[in-house]
Each structure stands twice: as structure tokens, then as C-alpha cells.
């Protein structure tokens, strides 16, 4: 486990801190390395599909993927053999059913075995928050009577020093790289999120490096609530402008969730050949 200076991100240690605006290809080439711990977040909304597809095109291997709700994007990364390990709390196609590539990896080790570190949503949300806060672990009231404690050695018990209450503890999430999608950034690299904001802010602040893709880059972020979720430029490593970069997820104020694609994916991903053919046409052959 990282200690001391290790816990400071490369971003925190960099003096010249503003985010650089680059192409999507450069963003992934510069930030994501084989064997990295990568968190792509977005709770149903603003899922960074385009960036994930670029990771697949650049053939990153042996990744540890972290995501609360691995949905179609992680089904694709797992099915294309990018991941050795998955840390997650709910792995399904929301409202539709199973993730067939995820299941094939777990049940039949295709295309390769997948190690699971499985948590609850509460644990992962707390673990991201602890990562952003620079803490070694998250403490919360959870997992009571839940069998995940038996199969996940990273779920421990800690005693409250004031009340004696037994609480759950899990390690903080500190990814090598966080990848998220947002509505917009300004030319100085400040990023704004609106709508269902999930754990994206926590994931970026917890990570050593970060990629933010955006719908548009604007001169000024424009009228907004003073409580809009903003990541200042100096907390982000690189930004790439990728319109529709969250599709088939959605970007509030830009385009709706493509529910029909989520339904269609069930058939596409059901068999290995159909999946590979779809990925060839729609991801690998597209630049």
C-alpha cells in the first residue's frame, strides 16, 4: 500500500499545474500505461465511452479496472482482454440484464481470467471519497451480515475509539489514472459537470493522473450556480474535446441516454464472435 510521498499524486507534485488540452489519442497515450489501475467513472450519466474505446484501440493490457457500475463499457474492455482485475459493486446492464462478456470472463475465463474485488456501492463511494481526501482507508457503517466480508480480504472491521462501535473499513481508492467525461471545459482547462455527478470529482482528485473528455471547449463556462461541480484546471492532467463522447450514455443538456442501444447490446454481446465483429467495426476500425 502507498505511504507518505507516494500518496501525493503526480499532479499534486507538479508545479506547472494546468491541464493540457490534447487529442483523445494523445490523452490515452500519455496517461494510460499497461498494468495501470484505471477508474472510469460516471454513474449511468457521463460514462466516458469514447476514452474507453481509445484505451481498447491502443491495446492496453493487464489493467486493473475500477468502477462502481461496470456496464457496457467495461463489458467491452473485459471482452477485448484489457483487464486482469476488476474492482466493482454492481456489474449489469441497467434495466436490461447481464453483462455477457463480464460473465464469460468470470464463468469461463474468456478471453482471460478476471480477478474480482467486489464491494458494495456504499464501500466504493466511501473509498473514492477517502482517496480524494488523502486518507489511507474509508470508515463507514456497512456490510453487516453480508457475505462479501468472507470473500474479500479488503473488507475489515475497525472499532470507533470513542464509542466502541464496530465499523467497516476498506482501503482508499487511489487509481493511477481516472478517466471521466464532462459537459464542458474552458480554454484554461477548468472542467464543469452538471446533472447526476456520481463520483467523478472524487475519482479525479483521488487519482495520480486524469483524463477528462468534454462535449465542448468554451471561452467561458458561462452562467452557472456557484455550487456547480467544477474541477479547477490544476487538478486535471489532460483534457480532450470529444463531442458525444459519452454515447450510449448521455450528457445532460446535450443528448439523452440511448436506451435502445443498451437493450440492443444484450444480443450483440451474447456470443463471442458477434461481440468481436461489432468491436472491429464500431471501435477498432474507427479513429
Amino acid at each position: 500500500m502507498a505511504t507518505g510521498l507516494d500518496q501525493l499524486s503526480e499532479k499534486q507534485m507538479t508545479v506547472s499545474g494546468r491541464a493540457r488540452i490534447v487529442s483523445l489519442h494523445e490523452a490515452v497515450a500519455q496517461c494510460v500505461r499497461d498494468g495501470d489501475v484505471v477508474a472510469m467513472e460516471g454513474f449511468t450519466h457521463l460514462i466516458p465511452y469514447a476514452a474507453g474505446h481509445e484505451v481498447i484501440r491502443q491495446q492496453r493490457k493487464h489493467l486493473t479496472l475500477i468502477r462502481m457500475t461496470p456496464d457496457i463499457l467495461y463489458d467491452q474492455l473485459i471482452g477485448m482482454g484489457c483487464a486482469d482485475k476488476l474492482m466493482f459493486s454492481w456489474g449489469g446492464n441497467p434495466g436490461v440484464g447481464s453483462l455477457h462478456r463480464f460473465r464469460d470472463a468470470v464463468e469461463h475465463s474468456w478471453p482471460q481470467p478476471l480477478i474480482l474485488e467486489e464491494h458494495s456501492h456504499a464501500a466504493m463511494a466511501n473509498a473514492y471519497d477517502a482517496g480524494a481526501a488523502g486518507l489511507p482507508c474509508a470508515v463507514f457503517r456497512g456490510y453487516v451480515g453480508a457475505e462479501l466480508r468472507r470473500v474479500n480480504a479488503n473488507i475489515k472491521t475497525i472499532e470507533c475509539p470513542f464509542t466502541g462501535e464496530q465499523l467497516a473499513a476498506v482501503p482508499a481508492i487511489r487509481p493511477d489514472v481516472a478517466i471521466v467525461h464532462a459537459q464542458k471545459a474552458d480554454r484554461r482547462g477548468n472542467v464543469m459537470f452538471e446533472g447526476i455527478v456520481g463520483v467523478q470529482k472524487q475519482a479525479v482528485l483521488a487519482a495520480r493522473r486524469s483524463i477528462v473528455t468534454v462535449e465542448e471547449i468554451v471561452d467561458d463556462l458561462g452562467p452557472r450556480s456557484s455550487n456547480a461541480v467544477i474541477l479547477p484546471s490544476w487538478t486535471v492532467t489532460v483534457i480532450a474535446c470529444v463531442p458525444k463522447g459519452a454515447h450510449p450514455s448521455y450528457a445532460h443538456g446535450y443528448y439523452p441516454r440511448d436506451n435502445n442501444f443498451y437493450i440492443a447490446w444484450d444480443k450483440i454481446a451474447r456470443d463471442r464472435d458477434g461481440f468481436l465483429a461489432w468491436m472491429q467495426t464500431h471501435v477498432l476500425d474507427r479513429r
Binding site: F43, T44, H45, M68, T69, F88, S89, W90, G91, G92, P94, G95, V96, S98, L99, F102, R103, V106, E107, E118, S120, H121, A122, A125, N126, Y128, D129, F140, R141, G142, Y143, V144, G145, A146, E147, L148, V151, E165, Q166, G195, I196, V197, G198, V199, K201, Q202, V229, Y250, H252, P256, R257, D258, N259, N260, Y262, I263
Partner: protein, 256 residues
């Protein structure tokens, strides 16, 4: 007499269980239909919260996912996910949460993790998501599940979320202060926990359903309350509001 499906009966029975003053943590699918039906009928002021962070949401169509834009557009406010789980759920602000699962046992413990052995599962299910903490932090829990022998099992393959544990005072012995599953609504009947043993006990049977049918679809010896009620059939208003909600939902999803 209105014609209706067993599935509609289940959703309507679940909706009736909700009160106008409830703060309800809603899941996708049947719980979402039931919670919104309650809001559109007898409980107009019910507060609906989805784990994506949307508080006091009033969707006109049912979301396909837990985080559809419709939920955010119609919410009083939307918070981030750590806040949702820390302040609102763990903070004890929710009066009732809905759960379902692939397997349930007689004490309403649930499995949504795996069929078979955890390390070498026959079927890898989606996992717990919010369930382990919903099960212990909501004031009480309603469970909606289709009744079948495959799902209503003598022994769970994996215990994702705590119901009444081993029965009796098992929740309290683990320092859980909430009531746990107080109602299990199926397409055949309604169970509530026995006051002593906490075993789920049939309190009400839906019209046209026999005790044999319930037993045939349950993997343990079903217990019945001393005075089993007959669930009132859906009335015309409940059915039309539910069907209109589903029709609006289908139209909206087809257009997206």
C-alpha cells in the same frame, strides 16, 4: 371485474404498502413502477430517492436505468453518490427501501451475487450494488419478487444482504437497529415476518391463487398466519394509472 395480470397485482400490492409520508429508496424495475404508482394514486407527497443521487424526483415515465436524465430533470435536488450513501442512506433519512434478488430464503435474506460457488460460479449475477447497506440502513425494507421455486430457496448460494439472518433477534444481535424486511410482495401473495421467529409468513393471498400454488413455488415449508386475508383485486383506477405509466414509458423509450 377488471382483468389484470399477476404481475400487475404484485406491483399494485407493493404500491399500496407505501405511505404518503414515506421517504423511499427506489430501485429499478418493479420497485420503481410500484413507487411511482403510489405517488400517482394514494401517496402524492411520497419522497422518492434513487441511488444515483436524485432526491424528491417525480418522473413522468419510468427510468430504464437508475440514473436516467428524467430523474434528475424532475428532482428537487441531485447530490453526488458518496453524499447519497453517507448522509441520506447511512444517515438514517430513509423510511423504506425496496429490494429484490435472484434468491430469497425464509428469513428474507437475499442473494444477488452468484449462483453456485463464489470463486467458480455457475451464474455470475450483477452483485449487491446498494443492497447490503439499504438492507440495514432503511427504517424498513419491502421486497418485490416473482414467486418461483428457483428463487424461493431453502438455502441461499450467497448472502448478499441481510434480512432477518437466522431469525429471532439475529439483526439486533448484530447491532442493527432497523426493522429489516417487513413485507415480501410476490405475484402470488404477501408475506410478513412472524413477530417471534421472523420467518416470512403468508398474510394475504392474491385473488385466484391457491395455497398449493404458493407451496409449489416455494423451496421451504410455507407458514401461514392464523387469519390469512384475501388481497383486494386491483381497482380500475390503480390499473389505468399503472397501464398509462407503462404506456408513457414504452413510448418515451421507443422515441429515444
Amino acid at each position: 371485474m377488471n382483468e389484470y395480470s399477476q404481475n400487475e397485482m404484485m406491483t399494485i400490492a407493493a404500491a399500496r404498502s407505501l405511505r404518503n409520508e414515506d421517504i423511499c429508496f427506489v430501485g429499478i424495475g418493479a420497485p420503481s413502477a410500484a413507487a411511482n404508482l403510489a405517488r400517482l394514486t394514494h401517496a402524492p407527497d411520497i419522497t422518492l430517492i434513487y441511488e444515483s443521487g436524485t432526491i424528491e424526483t417525480r418522473p413522468s415515465v419510468l427510468p430504464l436505468s437508475i440514473g436516467d436524465g428524467e430523474l434528475c430533470d424532475t428532482a428537487l435536488t441531485t447530490v453526488d453518490v458518496p453524499e447519497m450513501f453517507r448522509y441520506w442512506l447511512q444517515g438514517g433519512r430513509i423510511t423504506v427501501g425496496f429490494l429484490g434478488g435472484a434468491q430469497i430464503d425464509r428469513f428474507a435474506n437475499l442473494n444477488t451475487t452468484v449462483m453456485g460457488d463464489y470463486q467458480h460460479p455457475k451464474v455470475r449475477l450483477p452483485g449487491g450494488g446498494g443492497a447490503p447497506e439499504i438492507a440495514t440502513h432503511c427504517g424498513e425494507v419491502f421486497i418485490i419478487m416473482q414467486h418461483s421455486r428457483r428463487s424461493f430457496v431453502d438455502k441461499l448460494d450467497f448472502m448478499t444482504s441481510l434480512g432477518h439472518g437466522e431469525g429471532g433477534g439475529h439483526r439486533q444481535r448484530q447491532s442493527v437497529k432497523t426493522r429489516g424486511p417487513t413485507r415480501l410482495i410476490t405475484d402470488l401473495c404477501i408475506f410478513e415476518p412472524d413477530p417471534e421467529t421472523r420467518e416470512m409468513t403468508v398474510m394475504s393471498i392474491h385473488p385466484g391463487v391457491s395455497r398449493e400454488q404458493i407451496q409449489d413455488n416455494t423451496g421451504w415449508n410455507v407458514r401461514y398466519a392464523s387469519h390469512v386475508q384475501s388481497t383486494p383485486s386491483p381497482d380500475a383506477a390503480e390499473l389505468s394509472v399503472l397501464r398509462e405509466l407503462h404506456a408513457r414509458t414504452r413510448a418515451a423509450h421507443a422515441a429515444s
